[in-house]
Amino acid sequence: MTNNAIEVRDLVRRFGSFTAVDRITFDIERGEVFGFLGPNGAGKTTTIKVLIGILAPTSGTCRVLGLEVPRDTARLKQSVGYMSQKFSLYEDLTSRENLRFFGAVYGLKRDVIGSAIDSSLSRFELARYESAQAKELPSGARQRLALACAMLHDPGVLFLDEPTSGMDPTSRRQFWEQIHRLAAAGKTVLVTTHYLDEAEYCNRLCLINQGHIIAEGTPTQVRALSRTSALNVVCTPLNKSLTALLSRPDLGETSIYGGSLRVVTPDPDSARREIPALLEQAGVRLVSITSDQPTLEDVFVQLVRESNA
């Protein structure tokens, strides 16, 4: 038997003449935290909707926990949990009432629902908010409640679509600890995020753009795909230097980084060669140019731009 929780083969989904997902193939192992990354409109949400059985594929095959989509949709819904950034909680209902509502939606029997809610409240550290209305919850607790609702029926696979959007650093960190605990308990998690520092929490990443997979692998492997470099340019005054570097976008993309400038460039050798003269012309004092590691976001932006070109 395969150890894959999710198998996607040549999945295509069209909307009229628009192809949102264009023959993508990937596997996710049981217990894996799989980061599904891509710009808006890349096809991430469409893929998720196919995998949870609310959109039929145009062609291709998908299996989730051995169930075939869309044939086994009814059973599939019992085995998957889905939480989106816009997950709607009932604002006027308390935490416990929200959980009871979602328990009913998932068809939990009356005799098990009470204990399922109790263990959920403690597992997601929501006990102290049990009687608070959803609208009164701090954002971290709110997001945990949304996750608890999506998991009340104890699904084997979780789909999380931008679950941490807008969360503060502490809440995000706790949220990811929770995800790792779920994965350690054998749950499979597919998660999307626009914040690439979060990709480090994933076992494996898949980068999708315009319906195609453009990179796949562990965070380290994806980082290694990059031909992009970063330079740290220490110079003064900063504003003048910025103007000079912005006039030469071919040398790279320049941003502020503390008291220095950061230039992300595909060609660090020519950038290093040309920047000193450029800054001298602008009457700027150059102190140093040193290499800096590209971030995963630098790599992501480069890969997406190459694929758009």
């Binding site: 891509g38 971290g140 807008g166 626009h194 520092d197 562990t218 504003n239 910025l242 502020i256």
Partner: protein, 305 residues
């Protein structure tokens, strides 16, 4: 010494019994890119709203571009751009009509309107979408349009409240490209973010918590505080490694990641050796490697010390 673009002294604001701001004092230099970060309810938005003039403080003073920021002479309206978390663009108007509307609001003449609208459409890469109703634009495009609307009158000071929340990395790059261009022209920006990677794009960061500024420094100096404290051990046995590290007195914080566990050691000299022994004891033989510190580490260590 040149005059500060923004100077705030002893600023306080309470909502009922909740002290949202407790005596904030800070100064932002002309041309500075200044970041405010920190957890929810730290007071970031309240501070920005006071600076933008949409909220009156209980006490304290604000000077913006040489004018009194509390009594707010009308001239300030023209020299400040403010982008709140929920900014009004007109969903039924096209992208271009929205920009025209804001130009009219600021009393710009026809020629200035044309050139600024064209320039902003170009900078935001929205030229092809000028005829689109704003309501039909993607999240990232909408946010760029909002920024463009806040920039039509070429304000000296921009106030941005969590401007990139929810937008994708590519749009975010473009968004920052627009701001970088604006900065190069000597303008000043103060922005808030809950994303610590984004906080690092600034000249200086003020980390707020419970209505106060806890630390305020350059990204380099803040990261310096946690230098040689972050390590990463590559292991499949993440749970065992995390448990062993959590139990070790030499470890200040543990962060399980996709391919191993990152952790922060305390500042004692033997901390790494102690943590390594704890890992070996749990059967994790891989050697912890030094890792690049993050701003999140700064926040965590500031909270535990």
């Amino acid at each position: 010494m040149s005059m500060a673009a923004l100077s705030v002294n002893g600023l306080s604001k309470a909502y009922g019994t909740v002290n949202a701001l407790r005596g904030i004092t800070l100064e932002v230099a002309p041309g500075e890119l200044f970041c405010i970060s920190g957890p929810d309810a730290a007071g970031k938005s309240t501070l920005l709203r006071v600076l933008a003039g949409t909220l009156k403080p209980d006490s304290g003073s604000v000077t913006i571009l040489g004018s009194d920021g509390v009594s707010r002479p009308p001239i300030l309206r023209y020299s400040i751009g403010y982008m709140p978390q929920r900014f009004a663009i007109y969903a039924d108007l096209t992208a271009e009509e929205n920009l025209d509307f804001y130009c009219a609001f600021y009393g710009l003449g026809r020629q200035a309107t044309r050139s600024r609208v064209e320039n902003l459409l170009r900078l935001t890469h929205l030229e092809k979408f000028r005829e689109f109703q704003a309501g039909n634009l993607s999240g990232g495009m909408k946010q760029k349009l909002v920024l463009a609307c806040a920039l039509v009158h070429e304000p000296e000071l921009m106030i941005l409240d969590e401007p990139t929340t929810g937008i994708d990395p590519l749009s975010r790059r473009e968004f920052w490209g627009i701001l970088t261009d604006y900065l190069a022209r000597g303008k000043t920006i103060i922005y808030s973010t809950v994303y610590l990677e984004e906080a690092l794009r600034s000249n200086r960061i003020a980390l707020m918590d419970s209505g106060s500024i806890k630390v305020c420094d350059t990204p380099e100096k803040l990261l310096e505080r946690v230098r040689n404290r972050r390590f990463f051990v590559a292991t499949e046995a993440r749970e065992q490694a995390a448990a062993a590290l959590n139990a070790s007195p030499a470890v200040a914080s543990v962060q399980p990641l996709g391919s191993g566990v990152a952790f922060l050691v305390t500042d004692s000299a033997e901390a790494l050796a102690t943590a390594t022994t704890a890992l070996t004891g749990a059967g994790v033989m891989a050697k912890p490697e030094p890792a690049q510190p993050t701003l999140e580490d700064v926040l965590i260590l500031a909270g535990t010390q």
